[in-house]
Subunit: 99 residues, 5 copies
């Protein structure tokens, strides 16, 4: 899974019918120091996440292992909202301490 | 999923029979600022998209989760035409404002 | 799918029995201007392609969606021989005009 | 599979219900000389591994081939704790000799 | 598939039970000129290969399409030992001519 920050949304009315009702987020990858990289992925929201939140995304066939995405042409899903994460003995992100 | 721009087509008459009837687009990746990268993928059209349109592509096994591509040797599919997308509080692309 | 040029072959007599009878090509990736990159993949031939031809390859689980490769440990397949492809309003490759 | 070092954890209370009970590790990739790269992946623990250990991770659909991860939106799993590994005739890592 | 050289092994006693009995090789990627890159993958041996041999590896779900790896958390498999391979009209590697 990758750690990402939700920075935007994608709106598409003309689409494969199986995509109806899904919400598409623009998710920037977060690096090991908590910084945002320029790399991004468009992921379907499966947990009611919102703009600015730091999340876990599953990609590939794993993205279809939720009741919402099963059998749909989806290769990335937001499947958890991160409370905290740490690396090398340092708290990289703590949702409770964000403004 | 990736955000892409359709910039061309691929024509192939000698091919695996399961590919009959599919349309192949050359899709350049769009970066977070809306610019086009040099990276591209060839994707099957599942939504009646056209040259110059900004689209969403699903890759990997997700590309076969449409009625059109099921059971075919296809690893990338255009499955939505983007109306608008935004990032970092800025509209990166708005189809209605394009020439 | 990726656009590639067949530049060589791989011969292996000691192999997983399920690979018997398959032909392995060395396929260099073609970039958006038609140039050859140094990156390459070894792909199974599913269309009777030959050395020097420009082809479409499917990778990942898509590579097993042909009668020839089904159920075999194959992650890349040549599944179409390209006649022409274009990008940005320019013909990048036209098989009929090659020597 | 990739060789990784467990350097941290991810905590997420709001998540897809199928993820309940799983432990998420931050795993940095280890290079061929045993050094740590900046690249990391978040992987589910399937073997009772702990912080600081050098492990094997499987990614993609392989990550769901354990009793713990089956049918869950998981694309990376820690499935072995490495005792030793060597490359080019040199022992790169020996758990018994670590502090 | 990728062309690789077996340069080492990984030993892990504490592991997912489904991995019992598998042999893990450290496989460096071989580039188009036959040189070794620094990139490597850990792959399960399915053909009785040995240290120093040049091999073909299948990755992703293809790695589970052998009797040995079916249903196991394995994302890379050595499934052929290369005798010879060529590129651009030049023999890159010939096992018979190696010391």
């Amino acid at each position: 899974m990758l750690v990402g920050r939700i920075v935007g949304t994608v709106v598409a009315t003309q689409k494969e019918p199986r995509l109806e009702g899904l919400k598409f987020f623009v998710v920037k990858r977060v690096d090991i120091d908590g910084g945002l990289s320029e790399a991004f992925v468009v992921a379907v929201d499966a947990v009611g996440a919102g703009l600015g939140e730091t999340v876990l995304c599953a990609t590939g066939s794993a993205a279809r292992q939720t009741p919402l995405t099963e059998g749909r042409p989806v290769d990335a899903v937001v499947m958890a909202i991160i409370d905290t994460w740490d690396a090398n003995g340092r708290v990289v992100y703590d949702k409770a301490k964000e403004g």
